[in-house]
Symmetry: C2
Amino acid sequence: MNNEVLVVGSLALDTVETPFGQVEEALGGAGLYAATAASLLASVHLVGVIGDDFPQQALDDLAGRGVVLDGVQIIEGGKSFRWSGRYEYDMNEADTLETHLNVFADFEPVLPPAARQCDFVFLANILPSLQLRVLDQVDQPRLTICDTMNFWIENAREELLEVLSRVHVAAMNDAELRQLTGQPNLAKAATEVLEMGPKYLVIKKGEYGASLVSCDRHFALPCYPLPTVVDPTGAGDSFAGGFIGFLAWSGEISDEQLRQALAIGTVTASACVEDFSINALGRLTAEELYKRYEALRGMVAFPDIPREAICSV
Amino acid sequence: MNNEVLVVGSLALDTVETPFGQVEEALGGAGLYAATAASLLASVHLVGVIGDDFPQQALDDLAGRGVVLDGVQIIEGGKSFRWSGRYEYDMNEADTLETHLNVFADFEPVLPPAARQCDFVFLANILPSLQLRVLDQVDQPRLTICDTMNFWIENAREELLEVLSRVHVAAMNDAELRQLTGQPNLAKAATEVLEMGPKYLVIKKGEYGASLVSCDRHFALPCYPLPTVVDPTGAGDSFAGGFIGFLAWSGEISDEQLRQALAIGTVTASACVEDFSINALGRLTAEELYKRYEALRGMVAFPDIPREAICSV
C-alpha cells in the first residue's frame, strides 16, 4: 500500500472563450487538471506527453505540488496538444473550435516503475486502447477510475467496453451514459453500465451535480452553488482528481469514503470553474476545500420525520 | 390558524404521448395535480373551473380525499380545458401540440369563505392577473407560493412582478429563472428574484432535483432516482402540492420544515411520474412517501471529515 495516485491524461494548451472573458494557450488538459486537483491531498504521478513548447514554469509548479513528472514525455521539436473552444451562456457544453493532437497523436504511455505501483489510478479521457495499455502496466492498483467521451463511445466502442470490464469505477456524464447504453432513463442506464464491469459508476451532471451508483446504492449530490462561473473547462477532471485524491488521502475505499470523495470532487470542481485554466484550482487550499465540503454537507442535510406521525394521516 | 391548503389552478383533460405509451383526455391540470398531492397530508380547498364534460368520478375521488370542491365552478354547456403534448426520450420538456382553454378562458376565481381563510395558498400556473385576484381575496395566509411559466414571463411581466412582490415563495424551473432575470448564473439569478419580493425561491430542475434559496441559505436535493419514468406531466405541480401539503401538516414554517418540505415535494413528484395522469400519485400512500423520504435522506448523507486532518496536508 502506498496510497499514491497515478494520473494518465493530456497536458494541453487551451484557447477558451466564455461570456466572461478569454484566454489563449492557457494551461489545460485532463491530466493536468486532474493532477493539480489530486495533488492537494495526495502524492501524484503524472503520465502524458508534451512538446518542447510547453511552459517550463508549469512543470515547475506541478513539481512544487509534489507531482512526479518522470512519466511526462517531452518530445523535442514537437508541439503540445492544443484545444480551443467556446462556451455560450449555457455553460454546460463547449463548442469545440479546434483540436490539434500534435504530439498526442503518437502518444504511447510508458509508466516509470514508481507509477506502476500506485494504488489509485485515474485514466483520464484518452483513446481507450491507450487506457488498456496503462492497465496492462499497473501493478494491482486498489482503485482504478476511467473517464471517456462521446467520440470513443461511437468510434472505439469495443476497446471502451474492455476498459469498463477492467476498472473499478467508470466516470461519465449523463449524455455519455445515455449514448453508451441507448437507455434514456439514467437509473436503468446506470444498472446496464454496472453490468459491463465497474463496481461503481460516477455520473457527472455539470451544473446539476453528480451521482455515485453501485448495484445496491445510490448517492447523489447537487452542485456547489457559485455566484461566479467563469470557465467550466476542466471541471470534470478536477472533480475526478479531487475524488481520487481524497480516497488516496483517506487510504480507505468503503461506501462512506466514496461518498466523502464524491463531495470532495464536487467542491474541487467548484473551485476549478471560478477562473480560467488551473488558476483558481491551483490556489485552492485544504482549508477552503474543507469549508466548502462542510457547506455542501449543510446544503443537503434535512431532518428525519417520525414515521408514526406521518403514516397516521 | 387552520393549517388548511388552498390550491388555485387548472383542472384539465390531457392527451399525452411519451415513449412509453399514451393517454387521451386523462385527468390533468396543475390544480388537480397539486390538490391530489397536497391532500395526502392536509385538508385542501380547490378553486378552478370545468365544463360539464368533466368526469364526475374525478370530482368524487377528490372529495373522497377530503378536497373541498365548492370553489370549482362548473360551467353548464362549457368544455373543460384541454391540453395535448408529447415527450421524446429526453423527458425534461414537453412539446405542446394543442391547448384549448375552453372554459378556462373566462375563468374568474371566486373564493368561498372557507377557502379565503386557508393558511397555506398555492397559486398554480395561471394568468398572473388571476393570481393577484386570488391574493386580493385571501385572508392573511401564513404562506403563499406561486408558480409561473415562460409565456407569462414574456407576456404578462408587470403582473407577474406584482405577484412576486406579494408571495412568500416563488417556484419556477431553471429556464424560467434565467428568462425572468436575464441572468445565466442560477445563484445570481436566485438573488435577483429574492430582491423582487419572495422570501424563498424554489428552483425546479426536472430530473436534476430542486433547490430552495433564501437570502442567506441554499438547500438543494437531487431527484429521487426511478427506474421507470412514464410521464413527467404534473411533476412540478405534484412537487408543489407535496411541499405545501407537508408544511400545512407540520404547521410550522421554519428553515427545518422548509427543507423537509422540499424533500417531501421531491418524493411526491417521483410518484407522479411513474404513471400517466394522476394514476400513480393517487395511489401514493403516506407509508410509501415516508419510505422514499428516508431513502432520499440516505442518498444525500455523507460524513464529516475532521478539520485538523484535512487541513494538515
